[in-house]
Amino acid sequence: MMTAKKIYLQPNSVHEALSITNSFENDFRFLAGGTDVMVNRFQGNETSSCLIDLSGISELKHIKKVGSYLSIGSLIGLNDLKNHSEITDEFPVLIEAANAVGSPLIRKSATIGGNILCENRCVFYNQSEWWRDAVGFCLKCEGNICIATGSKKHCYSEFVSDTAPALISMDALIEIIDKEGERKIKLEDIFTGDGVHSRNLSRTSIIKSILLPLNQKFLSVFNKLRLRESMDFTSLTAVVSADKNGKVKIVLGGVDPKPVIVEGSNKSDREELIKQALKKSRAINNEIFSRNYRREMIRTFLKRSFAEIF
């Protein structure tokens, strides 16, 4: 029987990880906590022959101040964030967001870097291979039609990270390293809005760290819509953060292939902010809550957030 060769590598440094990739063209996948990738593998949505397990790379496990930023290593576990006073003191909303991810067991393995890069989801995609074959493969698994909308062009799988909206609302940057070298970009800039290729990072990219600006005195509110109080992926994550200068940043997850971002200030017309958020959100009927309901909840969550912040 023909079986693809299965390889599992555990590099000890970022450098080593990157150099390994040379041997595998695109047939490899980085693994951090693995809680997302391993499930996608079980369902046959992730089929790389080579898994490169980054979890042993200690240089990705730091939390330290770098200039005016707090640098959080991408391999910091979601469950470990709360053990760092630098985070609990200045960015408590990140803890709240991390605690809203999956279940306690998932959070013990999952990492912040992995959660940021959590694959987009759709009820027509996160299914077994047999299932996707039965329904007819969709755009996101190399088919030619979006089952949810009938569109031939666009995939609306949902961006579902809970921590990324919190980070983006606080103007987080990320440090990325790939074969071209290192660069620092705004976290929100990696998301494309295309459900199929939801991020513009190359396959060899590794997030080294997440940078959060210090001393901004963020006031943030986090809300997540889900049917159960544990386990469930988000149907709408809404984070609103205001900094010390009165700048307000709204970030929504779960209602678009990418994070929906609206910026304003504490002087802005709140109804106007809500309208903008609604306008940008391209939620479709592809999960347990209807599109209409989720849109209505955008309004509800934002109103609640504003009431708490202002």
Partner: protein
């Protein structure tokens, strides 16, 4: 392949593994530590939790390679030198273990938590356990076990303490006799059975809901090395079905497929992966037919060729119609001072037991042996003989420990025939384990239903009339559906006395996985409807809904309109109890907007009085054997699926003989070794097998009495059996148990006795009079308190107060567990569970999207056992495993009405629906606002 070195439970292993193998696979298949369970393979149930370097991980999504050079602890490594860990001991003592399938994962998660959080609160415990699903317990006793470990109370509460004294066994809480095995991961479930040289079986399933199979080409798959047999439908043409009147299913689809997921071909191969790969190589040509997905579509008249099953007698896809009427509904409605009529819709729900179906079959000189996760070994025994065309005497069905059933393992299943056949054809043992997706595709869950009910009462609040029109969606095959069709109607004739009662029900076939029997079988949805209508009537009359119910309860010792013989009846006591506990009178209707109390009542059979297959056999037989060692061997066909029937049987026998539980050994559910019991369905086991065990024990007692009274020359009626002794009050005879047995077995050897249960003849002689007949009935009530977020429509249950009349709690610890599990399952159907389809394709066949409530979604549950001492139940006992589910769902919906004035007519309750209805309502609903 790579070599890893791991230390598992302090034992060093060097293993050659596939580089992408998961840790759970290595532990179970390479090392043989099967205590770690596979429940979902996607990290969403927690059954596979183990410790890696002292940190809990989900071993189903952990690459084994990552664990190279680590220390791993599995459930088998927790007890030390035969001593249970304190946490394990508390799991056992508190009754935290039912089916035991989630237990290993639950213990591992808790163990880590207890160690790191020595002062944790109950809320923190609930949070910590919220990644481990349990379907049996409602988490209550698990949380108690963890809390007890953190804050030992050292006091006996609610009589739950295990009693070491031998007297008074009945009525004292006993942990399950097998609990210590389950808590150590030693208990073997179907997938844990290891036989040599086994082949693995996988299935090719239909991607079409309704299609002709034009051809199946297996040639490519056959060429794969290691593939031993490829089976298609024609080899097993004999039809089966759990009911003799619905023999409409074959082991594999023949000529046509009727739902997406139906088995079209099966492969036996040397490995799982090979079998799977072979399935992919099988090419099937289908010609699609018009599918039917909704009840309404299946009611339409169509041509013979379009029908899902050609054998049905109507010109549509109706499978079964039932109609029974008593009194005159039309007249009753005309004369009713108050009337309420509403339509309801219910999505299908699934049993969602944590253990996937699994079976291993082999043949030897004795014929077929199959180990399988089943609730009905006897019916499976018969069905295997029929389908495989072999004598009944060549079939042996063995039920190992079963990880929950709830009705979902109470049919004979295609995979059971297939592995049996493949084992015969290949001459090798064949095993199968369903993936979680396959479990959901197999379904047999609660029927999706649509119904319209009307109810009427007179000026004084006496219910005069109830009329129901009900349609249920049976999916592609019959299963228990004919019974379900009747139960939806007939089980509404109590607990309220309503003279003008009638119903009409249809069951339709659709091109979806079949519906069947699920906990509370048949009457859960119609009970929801009727309890909602009663609530509405009370609202119209401005009468307290509890008062209205109390007015209308039928008494004990009466006949219903349909001639059910009601004996013991604890409706009133149950309702009064939950009213009192919830401070109903003080709080109902007076809580602030968004908060509410609601009530519901229930009624259920305690064992179907009629066997499924009409014959003259007793419904249950129990054998006892006692030999020179004084140990009593109890053999019974009853199937313990986690509800505790083995323990119940042992308790009854120990009680009658006055001996300690340790002297009773239970051998159950092996159709070669144990006498027939019909199985775990219709809440029959305690009543029927319990009575058979009691009779057997009494017969054994007579044997011992006769021997002792003759030998010792004392009158037979002066002998007492208690505290492991046989004695007279004047101590003239004062024998230890073993001395008594010496006397009884002298010149005779082992004594064997038998006991049986046969239902009395019951019921009227009209068509359908047999439906719902039971030697006894259970009753119950629930008050729910909810909080509705008026901006999101999300409902949170704050409290459940439940009371259930179980006649007599033989084992109160187990009864509470059954009640709490039932209420919990009801909460799931009320708020979060539903099987969702897209053109006949199940959308949520996994534990992430099929939403069983987690520990965090579960409110405090206040359990009350009501005892009414049934005249015919063993020691007065009747059912407690299903009926309790009925009242909880309407109680929750009625509480939503009290909270926000919205009447729920669809399940699950949707927040969107609530918001919409609140908008439409806003003028008419006025509530005291909180200050």
């Amino acid at each position: 392949m790579k070599v890893i070195k791991i230390q598992v439970n302090n034992k060093y292993h060097e293993l050659l593994i596939d580089e992408h193998e998961t840790l759970v696979h290595v532990l179970r298949e390479k090392i043989g530590l099967t205590g770690t369970k596979i429940g979902c393979e996607q990290g969403s149930c927690g059954a596979c939790t183990v410790l890696v370097n002292d940190e809990p991980v989900l071993s189903c999504i952990t690459p084994a390679m990552r664990c190279d050079h680590t220390e791993i602890t599995t459930i088998e490594g927790i007890a030390q030198n035969g001593e249970l860990h304190l946490l394990q001991k508390n799991f056992v003592d508190k009754g935290a273990i039912q089916c035991g399938f989630c237990t290993p994962g639950m213990v591992m998660t808790s163990l880590d938590f207890v160690k790191k959080n020595p002062h944790a609160s109950v809320d923190e415990i609930k949070e910590a356990l919220s990644g481990n699903l349990c379907r049996c317990t409602g988490y209550k006793k698990i949380i108690e076990a963890v809390a007890e470990t953190i804050h030992p109370q050292n006091k006996s509460n609610d009589g739950n303490k295990i009693k070491s004294s031998v007297s008074g066994i009945i009525g004292v809480g006993h942990p399950y006799i097998e609990a210590t095995k389950k808590v150590q991961g030693i208990a073997e479930y179907a997938d844990d059975i290891r036989v040599k040289n086994v082949l693995h079986c996988k299935f090719l399933r239909s991607p079409f809901p309704h299609a002709i199979i034009e051809s199946i080409d297996t040639s490519l798959a056959r060429q794969l090395e290691g593939v031993k047999y490829i089976l298609t439908g024609n080899e097993l043409p004999e039809k089966f079905g759990v009911l003799p009147i619905s023999q409409d299913e074959t082991a594999l689809a023949i000529d046509k497929v009727r739902y997406i997921g139906e088995i079209v071909a099966a492969v036996a191969a040397e490995t799982d992966e090979l079998a799977q790969a072979a399935c992919r190589l099988i090419k099937v040509k289908y010609k699609p037919l018009k599918p039917f997905f909704e009840i309404d579509e299946s009611l339409n008249d169509i041509g013979q060729n379009e029908k899902i099953h050609p054998h049905t007698k109507f010109n549509n896809n109706i499978h079964k119609k039932a109609e029974i009427r008593f009194g005159n509904q039309e007249e009753g409605l005309q004369h009713a001072a108050f009337r309420s009529k509403m339509s309801f819709e219910f999505e299908g729900v699934s049993h969602a037991f944590t253990e996937p179906h699994a079976a291993t079959a082999y043949w030897d000189e004795n014929g077929l042996t199959i180990y399988t996760a089943t609730q009905v070994p006897h019916y499976l025994h018969r069905a295997l003989a029929k389908v495989l065309k072999i004598p009944l005497s060549k079939v042996r069905v063995i039920k190992p420990y079963v990880g929950g059933g709830f009705g979902g393992k109470s049919d004979p299943f295609p995979h059971e025939f297939i592995v049996s056949w493949l084992a015969m054809k290949t001459g090798r043992p064949v095993k199968v384990r369903y993936s979680r997706e396959e479990v959901f595709l197999c379904n047999h869950g609660r029927h999706p239903s649509k119904m319209s009910l009307e109810i009427g009462a007179d000026q004084n609040g006496y219910l005069k009339v109830l009329d129901a029109e009900i349609a249920i969606d049976g999916g592609a095959y019959g299963s228990f559906g004919v019974v379900t069709t009747y139960y939806n109607g007939v089980l509404l004739q109590a607990p309220y006395a309503i003279e003008n009662f009638g119903f009409r029900t249809y069951r339709v076939y659709t091109n979806k996985p079949q519906s069947g029997a699920m906990r509370g079988h048949g009457a859960v949805n119609s009970r929801f409807a009727s309890e909602s209508l009663i609530d509405d009537l009370a609202h119209q009359m401005k009468m307290d809904p509890c008062v209205l119910r109390l007015k209308n309860f039928m008494p004990s010792n009466t006949l219903t309109v349909g001639q059910y013989r009601i004996t013991s009846n604890g409706s009133r006591e149950s309702l009064m109890k939950v009213m009192e506990q919830s401070q109903w009178e003080k709080r109902y209707g007076k809580l602030p907007l968004g908060q509410g109390l609601g009530v519901g009542c229930g009624f259920f059979i305690s064992g179907s009085a009629l066997p499924i297959i009409r014959n003259e056999l007793p419904q249950s037989v129990v054998h006892l054997k006692v030999d020179f060692d004084g140990r009593v061997l109890l053999s019974s066909g009853a199937s313990d699926i986690g509800q505790g029937s083995d323990t119940m049987l042992a308790m009854i026998v120990a009680e009658v003989l006055g001996i300690s539980m340790e002297k009773v050994f239970v051998l159950a559910a092996d159709t070669l070794l144990t006498p027939v019991d019909l199985g775990s369905y219709s809440s029959r086991v305690t009543f029927m097998a319990g009575n058979a065990a009691k009779m057997a024990a009494e017969n054994l007692r007579i044997e011992i009495v006769n021997a002792v009274s003759t030998t010792k020359e004392v009158p037979a009626d002066e002998l007492n059996f208690s505290s492991d002794k046989v004695f007279t009050n004047d101590n003239k005879v004062d024998l230890t148990w073993i001395e008594a047995i010496d006397i009884a077995t002298a010149n005779r050897g082992a004594i064997t006795v038998s006991g049986k249960y046969i239902s009395p003849k019951l019921g009227g002689d009209f068509k359908g009079s047999g439906a719902g007949l039971s030697p006894s009935y259970s009753f119950g009530a629930v008050v729910a308190e909810v909080k509705v977020d008026i901006e999101t429509g999300l409902v949170k249950i704050l409290n459940i107060w439940g009371a259930h009349d179980c006649g007599k709690a033989i084992n109160p610890l187990a009864v509470e567990g059954q009640l709490e599990g039932s209420w919990h399952m009801g909460m799931g159907q009320a708020l979060s569970e539903q099987l969702r389809y897209y053109n006949g394709l199940l959308l949520n066949g996994n534990f992430l999207d099929y939403k069983i409530p987690t520990s965090l979604d579960t409110p405090p549950i206040h359990s009350n056992i009501i005892e009414t001492i049934d005249p015919e139940g063993p020691f007065g006992a009747k059912e407690c495993g299903e009926g309790a589910l009925h009242p909880v769902i309407p109680a929750i919906a009625n509480a939503v009405f009290d909270a926000v004035g919205v009447r729920i007519t669809r399940l699950p309750i949707s927040p969107e629906d609530i918001l919409q209805k609140m908008k439409n309502n806003s003028l008419s609903f006025v509530k005291v606002d909180s200050n």
